[in-house]
Symmetry: C2
Subunit: 390 residues, 2 copies
């Protein structure tokens, strides 16, 4: 992507970091998520997923077994590394977020104070970036609410996030307060986020139960839980919200769905048809008393309340996402620092193929240098996430 002429603004809205406090937290743990060192590995290993448990257990028994999880490189933790990655990919602005599984695993009493530390750390990184070596780069972030804390603590955190000058929303997993995003107990939090104009970046972590990957899954590396489990988890979470009427109950809620909505653009038609043909839903609707509010369709939710990142790695997927949500609702992302180059594919200090695939998807679907490509590469994020203000 070396480019001798000035490039337009490129905004990365899907880019993660683990600040030092978070790494300390993981290093002190015995169960996932955790960080652990192995004699055969120069970098500590970051082990996050349920699907990585079998390989963790093998590696603890057998020093010759493949290492579990992924190397915890400086790409996960270093702000200069983030800024260098941005420069190498012509990214002018990044909206950072804590990577999964956020603070989901914290005891109720610890979640509030730790969330405050983490959010302060992100605010400080964003505020300090101008003193680094790449002038013109800007950083914002999605905050992390302490979801395992009591509701008043969560609501106080949302209020506090609105006072942090570089915060532009929150990142949220699919479990919410523990029972999913269709949990009525989550509604006050979603109302608070909507009232505070903080969009919710919905991101997967838990995937699907290991059993669905079958007895040979150990031979397939991380592919099934990451390539399929993650987007399917996101799709299920949003569909549950839709069926529970959350989008209708909180009309000002704005959500940015990771990985171009998981699979929602492709499955939206099937969801609508299954709703329209469901005997039980039809009976429930017929028995409703009083004034009946029209249920909005999945398509309306996609075009009115949902934004999608453009992390889908193909022209086919990108075009479907644009057709489902609108070209004014997609926003480029990299998923850095996940998916670094492996093997002979290149240097982690050079261009990343995982980034190139997503740039090419936009260029092929909408035309390199076109106005529409520019919207997805940066313009939409500047508008939707108010990235011109500090």
């Amino acid at each position: 992507m070396a480019n001798p002429t000035p490039t337009p603004e490129i905004v990365d809205i899907h880019t993660h970091m683990y600040p030092p406090e978070y790494i300390s937290l993981l290093s002190a743990r015995d169960t996932i998520p955790l960080v652990r060192t192995f004699p055969s590995s120069p970098d500590p290993r970051l082990i996050l997923l349920e699907a990585e448990l079998p390989s963790l257990e093998r590696a603890l028994r057998d020093p010759a077994a493949p290492l579990p999880g992924r190397p915890l490189t400086k790409h996960f933790t270093s702000l200069p590394q983030k800024l260098s990655f941005m420069a190498r990919h012509n990214i002018t602005t990044s909206v950072l977020s804590l990577a999964n599984p956020w603070l989901d695993f914290l005891p109720a009493s610890e979640a509030g104070p730790i969330a405050s530390q983490i959010n302060a750390s992100f605010e400080s990184m964003c505020a300090s970036s101008s003193s680094h070596s790449h002038p013109g780069q800007k950083l914002f972030f999605f905050g992390t609410p302490p979801l395992s804390a009591p509701a008043p603590t969560i609501l106080a955190s949302v209020t506090h996030l609105t006072t942090l000058p570089h915060c532009r929303g929150i990142i949220l997993g699919t479990t919410g307060l523990g029972s999913g995003l269709d949990d009525p107990a989550l509604l006050p939090i979603l109302h608070a986020l909507a009232d505070s104009h903080l969009p919710v970046f919905l991101h997967p972590h838990y995937g699907l139960p290991n059993a669905v990957w079958g007895p040979r899954s150990a031979e397939y590396g991380h592919v099934l839980p990451l390539a399929l489990g993650f987007p399917m988890e996101t799709t299920i979470a949003v569909a549950r919200m839709f069926l529970a009427g959350v989008f209708d109950a909180v009309p000002a809620l704005r959500m940015v769905l990771a990985h171009s909505g998981g699979t929602l653009p492709f499955l939206a038609g099937r969801v609508e048809s299954c709703v329209a043909h469901d005997e039980a839903l039809a009976a429930a609707a017929a028995s409703e008393k009083g004034e009946k509010r029209r249920r909005r369709t999945v398509w309306e939710v996609l075009r009115e309340q949902v934004y999608l990142d453009a992390v889908v790695y193909s022209e086919v997927g990108l075009r479907a996402a644009v057709e489902a949500s609108g070209v004014d609702r997609l926003m480029f992302g990299t998923d850095h620092p996940f998916f670094p180059p492996v093997g002979g594919q290149g240097d982690s200090e050079g261009e990343w193929e995982s980034v190139r695939l997503n740039v090419e998807a936009v260029e092929r679907a909408l035309g390199k240098g076109s106005e529409e490509a520019g919207m997805i590469m940066g313009g939409n994020a500047v508008r939707v996430l108010r990235l011109f203000e500090e």
Copy 2:
């Protein structure tokens, strides 16, 4: 869809029936799949899915609870009804298949003889259709192999199916011999199917574990397991085959994926990227001895070995399927008799909205009456499934 001028051939490759022997089988069972009568229902109820177990248990306890499963109407069992449905939707040829869960649940000793009966019943329906009241209609079928029987019985069934004049392939669920379609023990069966030029119509049934739908799933009718569980199951099954190298090992295997590939067209880019960026797969590839065969990409498999039905209920999904697989590889289907009109939406003897949605998706994506729409509505099926020969 009333049309005063002659219509071109419309072929429905995704259309199910339960012959009488199968209904007898289900009516004698105490566990799913089963057929059961309830005093409050004119039709017996057909209860197939793990996700329908909680509502079955409620209905057995409480006569006022909503009825479980779906009504077993004559649409599931009657050949005249099938022919009438075809006539009302201008469908000239149908490729029938036994609906899920096929014969997966049979004891090993019973599977072979029952498969023979079922396949004979389908052959007989197809042969007799010309004597019915809608001249010009043709029927073919996908056979059902006895997968729970010993391998020689399964192989004998495949050989027998090649002798039935109206058989054009087989229908297969995702469990194969019990461990999934990436099971090496399935390879001889897949080789036999490929050598016999019998395409495999891959169809979901098992969905995902109930836990992923969350504590409120009873409020959402059948939507989550059908709209999401089914296509996700198909996607996982095909991805496991791909990662196990099954498509490379059996290059003559041809598969038709239900519901436009589940979610594969949308996720193919992510699958490819996750494979390319997987540390464990890269290490395994690097340690391989001898001549290394190039692994084909998901895109190559989609364009060379896979066909997709056009049962995706939206223009967005249909276009993604066409872009992923090619306009010469999609084939129209209805999923009849599932998704009949409910409530005030129309008469089950009139036009079905679930059919109209799929017809409109083709027309909107490719242009009503266009050559490409005609390929998907019938031309491809005639060519791929050899529907001109008897």
